[in-house]
Each structure stands twice: as C-alpha cells, then as structure tokens.
Amino acid sequence: MSTHDPLVIAGREFGSRLLTGTGKFDTFETMRDALTVSGSEIVTVAVRRIDFDARDEDITTFLPEHMLLLPNTSGCATADEAVRSARLARAGGLPDWVKLEVIPDPRYLLPDPVETLRAAATLVEDGFTVLPYVSPDPVLQKKLEEVGCATVMPLAAPIGSGRGLKLRDAIRIMVEQAEVPLVVDAGLGSPSHAAEAMEMGADAVLVNSAIAGAEDPVAMARAFGLAVEAGRMAFHAGVIEEREQAAASSPLAGALHQP
C-alpha cells in the first residue's frame, strides 16, 4: 500500500485524518501540546464576543502555525445566524473555511437539517469552503453535496456523549455513497471508536471532548492519532468478513494425540 494517503478537502491535502477541537482543555498549554502530538492539521475554534473586562489570553497564539484554523458556527440556531458568524470570521482574517453547525436544540444539541442546508447553499455561493455538521442522514448528505459542500460531517452520537458509533448503519450508507470526504464528528469517546469509524471507510474523524476530558489529554491525543492511522490502514488492508461459526486458524489434521 502506498504510504501517501492524504486527506483531500476542497483540493487541499492534509497529512492527518484526525481533526481536533480546541474546547474544554484545562489550559491552553495542555491544548497546544495535545494538538501537536495528535498530528492534527485542522483544528476548530468558536467565535464569541470579546469581553473587554476580562483579560483572557488569545487562543490563536497557542495554535501551531501549520494548522488550519476552522472557525465553527457554534451558538447559532438559524441559518441566518450561522451565515453572519462565518462572514464575520472571514472578514476578520480567519480562513474562508467554516465548520457549519446550526443547533436550535440546547438539550440534545442536534443539528437542524433544513437550516443547515440553507446556510450551506448561501455560504458556498459566497465563496466559503463549507464543512457541515449533521445527523447521520444519507439523503441530507446528497443534498449537501449537491449544493457544493466540501465534506459532510455526521455525528456518531450526541456531542460530548462519548458513546461511539451509535448510528452505525446510517453512517455506513453515507460512507458508501460519499462523493466528498465523510468526517465522523462528535460522540467518539475512545480511540477504538475512532478506529472503528476509519475501518468502516470514513475519510476522517473530528474529536474534542474525548481528548480534552481525558485524565492525560496529551497521551489521549496521541492515542487518537494512532487509532486513526490504524483504522485507515485496516480499511485499506481489507477487514475480513464476520462469520456465524468458528473457523480454526490452526490445521485440523496432524494433531499430536491422533493415532
């Protein structure tokens, strides 16, 4: 197998298939160290009003320069709010890439498919590279591809739940029919979940809480990086079919006790 297997989004190559969120780390130093060992080349940030009374540190000074900053539209409950947030970020000098999330529901934090599609169409038209966050819905996936999204990013399980691939069958259909990279985003709790998504053929995964919330976030970031690589390699290597019955891996003939 060729070792050159980059993730290609909107014509741009990335060496790592692990995208990482920057939220919830105890300190920016820990975040920086975790991102660095994860190998990630794409990291998400949120956009919020400055509190001029607080002297908070600037997160961007802790983010290694080679990493692509991917502003998200978290906190937006409608398409109009998301478009506004993305335009503000781009005008202010952040990349014209956007992790589009439109989440009206504060309890389950599930994305609104109708508003997401509407915002995606507007932002693509406006020149953005759009990476929408969605529930696993193969029909919505096709519509997002049709309006020109650069990826589609289905959630594995609700944000921050760490439950893994709860909607495996829908994601499997999305993998099969994907025409732009499929990024499993949200709900992955452990490296084995990430590896499983990659073995299924996901093009990448996006992880935040499972790294930031680990006892040792830096070690966990490295573990996720390795799991994503392992899962990708296994996908290319071809995982064996499951069987109902046992199949011996040692020869049945010639055992020592036989007459």
Binding site: G21, T22, G23, K24, F25, F28, M31, T44, V45, A46, V47, R48, R49, I50, D51, F52, R55, D56, D58, I59, T60, T61, L69, P71, N72, S74, R84, R87, L88, A89, R90, A91, G92, G93, L94, I159, A186, L206, N208, S209
Partner: protein, 68 residues
Amino acid sequence: MSASISLNGRDQPVEHGETVAGLLERLGFGRGYALVERNGEPVERARYAEVRLEDGDRLVVARPVAGG
C-alpha cells in the same frame, strides 16, 4: 467633540474620527484576531485602519475562542 458608540451592547466613548483600528488598539486588542461587525455588516480586516466610527454606531467585536 467626542462621540458614543455601542460596543458589544455597552456604551463606549470614541474620539472624533477614531478608526476601528484605533479603538481596538486603545482597548488592548490591536494584535491578534479581532473580528468586527459594524451596524450589522462585517468589516474587512484590511479596512480597520480606514473605517471611522460615527456617533451611534453599533459595533460587535468577536474573536476566536476554544471550541469544538
């Protein structure tokens, strides 16, 4: 004569002819990312030094923060 604008929902006095860049500098946000919306429209970073604030302007200033 000084003027007053709304900055992230609070009254903020500004100097006559003060630019977006000038205000950000004065508030200690001259470096790094400050994302600016003036009267509902995003302001291009390249124009911060030329856009002059006027009495009654509504300014929203945001920046990247930790998020997933």
